[in-house]
């Protein structure tokens, strides 16, 4: 049998470029690895892992069956409520930000400012927003709703503005030529066209916010996070694992419902 030899032309610049790229990544990685201290890993790790596993096999069923304000059902419902209200608030708030960031509505210059504004909101962690709002309205679910409502603008505003940028401008021009005002254009030309995408993105963000709402409780902004962190810190593993199991099941159910609706929409 004959072997076919294929020779590639050698491009020195490309090789150099590659060496620089991969070398840079390697240097970054080594720098990262050197900085993490591996000392201080607890001697009790194996034991903790064991009792955690025991808690997973025999979770605290009584906690699941407590139908008062201290029970698991109430906490999980509160988490869902925070996610729903927060997502809805942010979807409404995102529309003006999206219009401000959309190039075909406000022109390239203003759109750059709008896009930067949205990126800034996205960068601000929701946990810190939650802490700020806790100091404003006190600990509890309302702080969580406010935090999610503001933080989600960062993602929804960006996705909404991209949806608006890719819409058919003919409808808007037709309305403009008839002398429609800005609000008529918004409600008759822009929103009807992009609403399936808007709803789909909002549902996607709802899936994310469900997870976020579960962590907001760690700082005291309501929901399942507070009992979870308390159970972990006091090492009541049956209860902690019960919460984790219920959280996984709830998020899985919500994800599957939401993604089914999203598939129908777009």
């Amino acid at each position: 049998m004959e072997t076919i030899v294929v020779t590639k032309p050698v491009d020195h610049w490309k090789t150099l470029y590659r060496i620089l790229n991969y070398g840079g990544i390697l240097v970054l990685l080594i720098w990262g690895f050197l900085g993490i201290e591996y000392k201080g890993i607890m001697q009790t790790a194996a034991g903790t892992l064991q009792s955690m596993g025991r808690g997973f096999i025999q979770p605290d069923m009584a906690y699941l069956n407590t139908w008062t304000i201290d029970g698991l059902p109430y906490a999980i419902l509160e988490t869902i409520a925070i996610a729903i209200a927060g997502t809805f608030a942010s979807a409404l708030l995102s529309i003006p930000f999206a219009l401000l960031a959309a190039q075909n509505i406000v022109g390239p210059r203003v759109s750059k400012i709008g896009k930067f504004l949205v990126t800034m909101i996205r960068t601000f962690p929701e946990l810190i927003l939650a802490l700020i709002f806790i100091s404003v309205v006190g600990p509890g679910a309302p702080a969580g709703i406010l935090a999610l409502g503001i933080h989600s603008i960062g993602m929804l505003g960006k996705l909404f503005s991209e949806a608006i940028e890719s819409m058919d401008m003919g409808v808007k021009e037709a309305l403009e030529s008839c002398g429609a005002g800005p609000f008529e254009i918004l409600f008759r030309a822009i929103l009807p066209q992009v609403s399936p995408e808007l709803i789909s993105y909002t549902l996607y963000r709802f899936e994310i916010n469900m997870r976020a709402a579960a962590t907001l409780g760690l700082v005291g902004a309501g929901g399942i996070g507070a009992p979870l962190i308390f159970a972990i810190r006091t090492r009541v593993w049956p209860r902690a694992m019960m919460i984790v199991i219920v959280l996984i099941i709830t998020v899985t159910i919500i994800d599957s419902i939401s993604s089914r609706i999203r598939k129908k929409l777009v």
Binding site: L29, L49, A85, T123, V136, A141, A214, I248
Partner: protein, 275 residues
Amino acid sequence: MSAGEQRVSRTNPKVFEPITVPKPNNLRRNLIILGVTALVLGSGWFAGFSIPQIIRNLQRGGRLLGRMFLEPDWSFTPRMINPLIETIRMAIVGTFWGALTALPIAVIAAENFLKKPWISKPLRFVLNIFRTIPAMVLASLFVAIFGIGPYSGVMALSVFTFGLISKLTFESIEAIDYGQVEALMSLGANKLNILRYAILPQILPQFMSYTLYGFEVNVRAAAVLGYVGAGGIGQTFEQALAFRRFDRVGVIIIISFFVVLAIDLVSSSIRKRLV
């Protein structure tokens, strides 16, 4: 069309009959809108959300924000540098482990490579479970197991990144141009060759882009993971907050915000060039 418009009757030109425009059946849509409104209002009520209460507390919140951002303690900045560097290192190492483990698992989970549904289906189910657990919850579990420190944060970020990148990657493996795979198969290539010469070259740019995206998410996550004791700037933040040093809290928020923003902008501009 308004009800006042009229047209000439076809049978009798002298008689005018009104045009009737059939109304679209909006019942289903209106029911959905009603349901969503009820759900949102019900959620707000259940969570105890009240706008008057927020307005009442605005002044207190404004005072606190003033203490944070109007007179921040800038002398604290030098003591933030080390925790900030640790945060970035945690994100790098966490992203590395997550991406490294995600690639082979994504190849196995993709339906069009192994073509063994009894492997890919259960694997996807497990991957979905990985993605349901928030990074903060993972971090607090790892802190309980391995103790306080950046090591626990790296573990949490690795697991979290693994879930994120593996899903995105197996989806893009399933979306590849299958013609190249078939071309190799017709030449008698085995699975490894197909992987090396048909699948990996097609998905690598996307995989790199997902890894960078994971890095951005991880930098943001690493900045707050310390709040539960998993190392990085979050730990400094938690201490400042515990001592009610809001002037320092303000400095930490401002500086880490700009560092994260800078990393975000650099990384997303690289991503735009990749794909």
